[in-house]
């Protein structure tokens, strides 16, 4: 470990102490007077100072920057300090286990550091039980959206080549994708957005605390693809053989219109997106057949004829 790094660490510690100690926001030159570890050269000092502020902000220190003739800085204690969650040993162990079992890799999301803060780490290494582990997909947008959900902060982002203004209600991870549920102000309607399809940057709009998630918002779960559309076009009748019927039943809720003696079933499926329904039916290969309505059956036949050619 070089002395260069030691000096930087000492400077960061002293700067943070000075920012926490400050009753009023303080300008850079004043902070440099209080923390006499900056280079004498003003240009170098300025550069080192802004790098330090960035480093503190990156690790989550709420550095307040007050604009004036020159910017002034401080850190408010209430914003800095983690309230004691009052976890029992048993609860702390349960959190350790959860973080050892389920993996979600986000920038600045280090679970080890979270546990240091919340529980003082673990005296013994906690590993996942041999039973199960899970991995959730990461996304650069998640932390920002999560902060916006908690602050009830409206946001703006690009989606399907349009700029949307959204009141973010809830994040959910379903079928391997993250979704944001919220009110799309541009359309005055509740929407579900795939987080990995958000285009560009997310920016706040207006003040925080601007809305409430309605109690009847419902689960933030994407409907099956064949229900993604403006209106239900028809109720399709889908025959499924006995083997697949059992698996399908476990995978989602389907209305069974008819049970046949051989164990096969006829499902009644509302369809808003005929292409997605056709894909679903074809993925079942020989285990399924679209019985009706005639337009749905004709669509499958035409598709198969083109494919068989």
């Amino acid at each position: 470990m070089g002395t260069e790094q030691d000096r930087k660490l000492e400077r960061l510690l002293d700067l943070l102490a000075a920012l926490l100690e400050a009753r009023d926001p303080k300008a850079r030159v004043e902070l440099q007077r209080l923390v006499p570890l900056y280079p004498e050269d003003d240009v170098a000092a300025r550069r080192a100072f802004s790098r330090d502020i960035e480093a503190l902000a990156r690790m989550g220190v709420p550095v307040e920057v007050v604009d004036g003739q020159v910017p002034a800085y401080r850190v408010q204690r209430e914003a800095y300090e983690l309230p004691d969650p009052g976890l029992t040993d048993e609860e702390a162990a349960a959190l350790h286990l959860a973080l050892a079992t389920v993996e979600l890799d986000l920038p600045e999301g280090s679970p080890a550091e979270s546990l240091w803060k919340l529980t003082g780490g673990a005296a013994e290494r906690i590993t996942a039980p041999s039973g199960s582990t899970a991995r959730l997909p990461g996304s650069e947008h998640l932390a920002m959206l999560w902060a916006a959900v908690n602050a009830r902060q409206p946001v703006r982002f690009g989606y399907k080549a349009e700029l949307r203004e959204v009141e973010p209600w809830q994040l959910s991870c379903q079928r391997g994708h993250w979704y944001l549920q919220g009110l799309d102000r541009s359309r005055a309607a509740q929407r579900l957005f795939r987080v990995d399809r958000i285009e560009g940057l997310i920016s706040p709009v207006g003040a925080a605390g601007a809305f409430f998630r309605p109690a009847d918002a419902g689960p933030a779960v994407p409907p099956p693809p064949w229900l993604l559309g403006d209106e239900v076009r028809y109720e399709a009748r889908l025959w499924v053989d006995a083997d697949q019927a059992e698996l399908i039943r476990a995978a989602g809720s389907f209305e069974v219109e008819e049970r046949r003696p051989d164990g096969s079933v006829v499902l009644s499926v509302p369809v808003a997106n005929p292409e997605a329904f056709r894909s679903f039916a074809l993925t079942l290969l020989d285990h399924a057949e679209v019985l009706g309505p005639p337009e749905a059956r004709a669509d499958v036949v035409a598709w198969l004829e083109t494919t068989a050619r």
Partner: protein
């Protein structure tokens, strides 16, 4: 340890370590090192810096006191750092999402220690308990998932009624259930398949039933990959041209290569684990995809499958 720690990393550690030690009026060096993942040498170096840290005018009353003595760490007058720094939004989300994910698994007590911890953490990170984030690890029959967990935890072999998507058949398999994992929104069982004597993955939503036997098994030290699909060296590759409307295929399956053909069309080199899997993909894509190269039995697979399915509709 040759891992290099940066000044930032050391600061993060100190900001968590200082309040923890100070609140206890001292702690054993060994325990501090174990909890905060550092060596005694690293701890000593950090404490030496902490000792000269403080605020202007840096008189003794404005400095932190920190020292090591008889195998114990002492820290006092560190009032600026009396509490740990708040969690970053990402850290808060990781905690809430992982805990909620685990709570969605059958067998987790919905009012147990984890649920109580989650409520307390929600308050500490400024979130509404029970709101903000939902996680579903995979759709699977909860009874089957619970049986597989039982078998895996108890070290018993299981007999599966398993539908193989690739070969499109139900088979009965005897499996050593090494590990259950969720990836890409589906649950998988990884274990030794007695029939082939090979380690493999089983999708839990394709298990119709699981019977826990009384036969024990040995779990190997190395369990292998927990990825939904791992490329096997012998897997054949097909070259597939995709219309713009089918370009999502390139992003949702592991591919060996993607070439742009112009006009939004793509050419992908797609490894195929099982012919049944490719058959489904090809009938689903229909005219939006063309197999331009690959083993003969795969080149015609889409056409052959479509013709066979068409019979049913005649």
């Amino acid at each position: 340890m040759t891992r290099r720690t940066s000044a930032d990393d050391r600061l993060r550690r100190l900001l968590a370590l200082v309040p923890w030690v100070a609140a206890r009026g001292g702690a054993d060096v060994e325990e501090v090192c174990a909890r905060f993942g550092c060596t005694e040498g690293e701890l000593r170096a950090d404490l030496e810096l902490l000792f000269v840290c403080g605020v202007h005018p840096f008189t003794p009353d404005a400095l932190v006191e920190a020292w090591l003595e008889d195998g114990r760490v002492h820290i006092s007058y560190a009032d600026w750092f009396r509490r740990p720094l708040r969690l970053t939004p990402a850290q808060g989300l990781v905690l809430m999402a992982t805990a909620r994910a685990l709570l969605s698994v059958p067998g987790t007590d919905p009012t147990g220690p984890l649920a109580r911890a989650l409520d307390k953490v929600a308050v500490a990170v400024g979130a509404e308990p029970g709101e903000g984030v939902e996680v579903e690890l995979g759709e699977a029959d909860r009874g089957v998932l619970a049986d597989l967990q039982t078998a895996s935890a108890a070290g018993r072999q299981v007999e599966l009624a398993y539908y193989s998507f690739g070969s499109d058949r139900f088979t009965t398999r005897l499996v050593d259930p090494w590990l259950l994992f969720s990836s890409g929104g589906s649950w998988y069982l990884r274990g030794l398949d007695h029939q082939t004597r090979e380690a493999r993955h089983f999708r839990v939503d394709r298990v119709r039933s699981a019977r826990v036997t009384d036969q024990p098994f040995e779990r190997p030290a190395e369990l292998g990959p927990t990825e939904a699909y791992t490329r096997r060296p012998g897997d054949p590759v097909v070259v597939l041209d995709l219309d713009p409307a089918a370009s999502w295929v390139a992003g949702s399956h592991p591919v060996d290569g993607v070439d742009e053909l112009g006009g939004g069309r793509l050419r992908i080199h797609l490894p195929v684990s099982e012919p049944g899997w490719l058959a489904r993909l090809l009938v689903r894509l229909g005219p939006l995809a063309t197999v331009v190269d690959g083993p003969p039995e795969l080149v015609d697979l889409g056409r052959v499958t479509a013709a066979r399915l068409l019979e049913r509709y005649r």
